[in-house]
Every structure is written in C-alpha cells, then in structure tokens.
Symmetry: C2
Subunit: 192 residues, 2 copies
C-alpha cells in the first residue's frame, strides 16, 4: 500500500502536531498548517485569525448558527465547506500531512490516506503543555478539557462520529505511553 | 519501557488471535488460550466448554442473572470473577499474551502491560472467516455482528467502557487496512 496523505486527529497536548511535523520532515511530505489556514481564509472570506481560532471548534450553535450568508448558510457551515474544499484540493496534490479539521472523514474515499489518532493521559498532556508553552499549571487541565470538548463537538457535528472511536482511524496511538518519537517511528514504518 | 504482558482485544474475524499467537511465538511469550480456559474451569467449577463458549459473552441477563450460587452471585459474575483471578495470576508470572476477557481492564494497574485493540472492516472479516474456517457466506455477516455485539455487551457490563474507544488501549490497529503481518511487526517494535 502506498500512502500519499496522512491525517492526524489529536487530543490537545498529546503531541499530535509535533508528530505531524516530524513525519512531514522525514518523509519529505508537505505539512499543511498556516498554508491551509490561508487558503481557507481566501476561500471563505473570513479572516485568517478567525479560521485559525474556530476552524476546528465551530458547530451550528449560538453565533455560528445565527449569522448566515445570502444563501442561508451559517458561518459554521461556510467555514467547514471552505475547509473541506481546501483539504480535498491539497490531498489531490498528494504527499502531505494534514492535522485536524475532520480530514480523516473528508478524505474517506481516498484509499491512499492513512488516518491516525493521537491521544494521551491527562498528566502527559499537562506536562507537555506546561513545558512547551510555559503555561501556568492551575488552569491547564480545564483548558485541555474545554478545548477537546469543542473539537469533539465539531467533529461529531460534521461527521456524525465520535472522534475517540478507534474504527474511524487506521491506527490510534497513546503518545503518553509509547512516546512521541515511537509514534513517529511506527507511522513511518507503515508509510515508507 | 519493558512490557511483560500484552493484552489483545479484537473484533471477531479481525485476525486478533493470529496476531496474538505470532507475537507469543516471536517474543517467546506464553499464549494463554486453552490453559486459561482450563484454569477458569477449575477455579469456577464450570465445564471447560461452558467457559469457552460464554467466558467473553456473559452478562447479567436471562439465565446468567437468574441462576446464583449459595452466596447470591450470578453465574455471569462467578465466571467473570474466576477469569479475573486467573488473568491476574497469569500476568503475575509475566511474559504472556492474553486475548479478550476484559484483560486490558483487569490489568489496568500494571504498568508493564501493553493493551492492543485489533479491528477491521466487514469485508476483510468476512473473507478471513470464509477462508480460514470455510464458513458459508450467506450467514457470516450476521454471525460477525452478533458475536461482536455479545462481546461488546460483556465488556461494557464488566468495565463500564465502550470497547471500541481508542483510549482504553495503548494502540489500536486496523488489520484490514494494515495487514495482519504489519500489525505483528508494529507491536513487536514496541515490546522488543
């Protein structure tokens, strides 16, 4: 099996983004992050900062449902549709790693896609965020829980699947138990 | 990290048992199947055939709930408690692979345990069962669905967790997509 697209769905603080970057570096794949945000912003007309902040967290509630465009499409749906279009286009170019944004679901029809889920225990995620981002410890657990809650709700809304269900992905890895380096090694052993 | 126990939770037809046997062979670990059934039979007083047939499928409904021993413990709970005791004892001896029977949950406290979940798409499972066991095709899908439904209900009853939730395990592998051989290779790369 030749894989030309890797999607990484990850819990906040699990090291999923680090794993994605390392994979792209090692495999010579494109790592789409800022470029994806730029293209979605261009596609949707929303500001880049808005796409960055809400691109994985919007769902049709409150502000996101209330505000619609001329055709009655909510802000949340406009954002999702723009992301979907850009992700399909980027995947078509091949050899890339895409983080989050329901990419596993959006690219479901492609047989050359490897869908990965990265998660970890709370202690690992807290330590990682404190060490990497220098955050204060007191509020960090709540932030992790809230962020993942929003990502899960977004995923559920647009895919009708639970994001922590193993069968959504081809491989799920506990980065807290296995270590970030080992996760990279395992994924590379599948793709190479 | 040194792992001395591997637990394999698997969907029916996914090749989980084959993976478990291969791992045990390659790593020089004990593979507990018939021996576990024998010991549970001895521990519980139930017939070996009964333990084999219902050890992963019982829950407190119908017959299993109605029939109790002198102390009011249901047949289902007696079976589970005997399995739990035997699994804890076997794990204590180390270097082993244990398939099914909520072993991931029962051994949760042990840090030297690697918990694996193996699953696959329906086509892969059907093909595998037809090829390996020579079953007739017409009823095989229903049999797969029914068997996993009973295993899931048993797992849920005794662990209060959904068995297809990635976070129950340290690694989850789609054997249909990755192939049985590759699954073995990945797990060995973690344990070795």
């Amino acid at each position: 099996m030749n894989y030309s697209v890797i999607t990484i769905t990850r819990e906040f603080g699990s090291g999923g983004r680090t794993i994605a970057k390392k994979l792209a570096d090692d495999l010579g794949f494109k790592y789409y992050d800022y470029e994806l945000i730029q293209q979605v912003a261009k596609e949707s007309g929303f500001a880049e900062s808005f796409v960055e902040e809400f691109g994985e967290e919007s769902q049709n509630t409150g502000f996101f449902a209330y505000l619609t465009n001329t055709w009655g499409t909510s802000v949340s749906d406009q954002l999702y549709l723009a992301e979907r279009k850009v992700i399909l286009e980027l995947a078509e170019q091949g050899n890339c790693v895409i983080v989050g944004r329901c990419a596993d679901y959006i690219l479901e029809e492609r047989t050359d896609t490897l869908n990965v889920f990265i998660y970890a225990d709370m202690e690992f995620k807290k330590d990682r965020i404190i060490t990497l981002y220098g955050e204060r410890e007191e509020s960090i657990e709540k932030r992790i829980i809230d962020k993942d809650k929003r990502r899960k709700a977004h995923y559920k809304y647009y895919t009708d699947r639970n994001w922590n269900r193993a069968a959504n992905y081809h491989i799920s890895l506990d980065s807290g138990k296995l270590g970030v380096e080992k996760c990279v090694e395992i994924i590379e052993s599948i793709v190479k």
